[in-house]
Symmetry: C2
Subunit: 316 residues, 2 copies
Amino acid sequence: MKTPSFSSVQAAAERLRGVAHRTPVLTSHTLDELVGGSVFLKCENFQRMGAFKFRGAYNRIVQLDAPARARGVVAFSSGNHAQGVALACKLLGIHATIVMPSDAPASKTAATRDLGAEIVFYDRHKSHRAEIAQDLCKGGATLVPPFDDPEIVAGAGTAGLELLADVPDLEVIVTPVGGGGLLSGTALAAHGINPGIELYGVEPEAGNDFQQSLERGEIVQTDVPKTIADGLQTTAPGEITFPIVRSHVKSIVTVSDDQLCGAMRFAFERMKVAIEPSGAAGLAAVMAKFLPAGKRIGIVISGGNIDAGRFASLTA
Amino acid sequence: MKTPSFSSVQAAAERLRGVAHRTPVLTSHTLDELVGGSVFLKCENFQRMGAFKFRGAYNRIVQLDAPARARGVVAFSSGNHAQGVALACKLLGIHATIVMPSDAPASKTAATRDLGAEIVFYDRHKSHRAEIAQDLCKGGATLVPPFDDPEIVAGAGTAGLELLADVPDLEVIVTPVGGGGLLSGTALAAHGINPGIELYGVEPEAGNDFQQSLERGEIVQTDVPKTIADGLQTTAPGEITFPIVRSHVKSIVTVSDDQLCGAMRFAFERMKVAIEPSGAAGLAAVMAKFLPAGKRIGIVISGGNIDAGRFASLTA
């Protein structure tokens, strides 16, 4: 399988031009004072369908040829990747079947269905979603995995290109890490521009499969983590993303669910921005001051898909 | 008293360069489909201290000479103007005394105090805030009114300049209207660039003092309106703002509290943006389709200062 590179991130950016939102970078004097540095939030919660996931999904699916498009697309996802695939398919006129865990947030399943996708539910503690998806692909449909695919990684990295175009002199970039698509794509983008930029990934304490894997030097499989960060409940790094993270990323940091809630509350009340738990991981880690003072820090806010009611109960 | 003009808005923009945030303009395909037009949200909820009010306050206060700065500043405000004045004074090293209603939202009083201002409370149903403020000014402090001042109006208009710089071909601009500072400043900015742009102001049904005044052709005084839009609880148009609105604005539209809540919920769940009730007035009116289909519409989202708890109870 082809390895993603800086030039594949650049090619993805061309494909996404005029299709994906060029999301804004927000700053806050209050946040800078709190952190003791200069912080720049790349707001992918303002991306189409509310998360960076649209970038990778579209970049992958738009490259399918006509016969493949006619056979349709299958994806499995805890939520945002589902919406990304559904939206990309809607824009391209392709049938999408999404395999979703039955406990996925209601806002995410509703939004996916609104985008015209067919949804097949499974129990995340009983069945293997990959097997279900492979069955669904027997008719020739293309399986679009959530992160472990070179074009998904390249698409995710385009947010990093935009961030560095807006703020060229960043010293550090911090992203959430689930399967590693966003982190590895961002790392390729950043180091293609400036190899001196330090990259960090942030995962929930309860689901530190990436941290364990880096420590061991090989992919470690964990149980499904219990965390409010529903988008980061992956159980292992990807085969494509892991080596990229290993060679480009300085280290993996973890945050507690309480820290995620604190970051969500801060972003809402002080910056007027709605962030879902997974999307707040980078902000939560930076607010916990894992970095030395005085740095110029970019943070990718990866998504904002959360019901107002759930948001209220988490930030109360 | 000097009348604000397009050139005073341009001069204000120069003073605010590098001091105020140049806030982003957000779009949403879902919103466009809902409205049947192209909608552009100028997000002044991302402005410093969370509302457009900083623009006018800073533009007014930065023009004080050294003796006036030494004597300090007094302001009366239901909330966001207070924070705008407090922040401007903090940046300029000026003592600020803010006269606030005792029922102002806790987030707004706390934020004002955090910015170093001294707060004097009054009962909005019993005392006259203007008299209290005038007493406080006996020592020579400068009273900075919330809207009825040429430099406050000019500062508020700078958000309109930025919106039109980003989206030059707007046909319509819609803003909330309380005392009329934002609406009249925006109108001056818009018509200085393109006299063909239609301007609309939106106020709460319960507090339609501007609508009544335009119908009568003179300033009408109303009771303090009962509405969740705490920033739009003005009881009369300003003497400076009213004639500008009368000559530049096509009409005033009203929205219900329920419509405000619906717009806040939509903005949160679909656009990931926190808007306070007053700030959502323009969006609520456009979502209620008061305009014909097919228009290119700019909406100024005027502020986002609301506690997470109050937001939850209003959008539940």
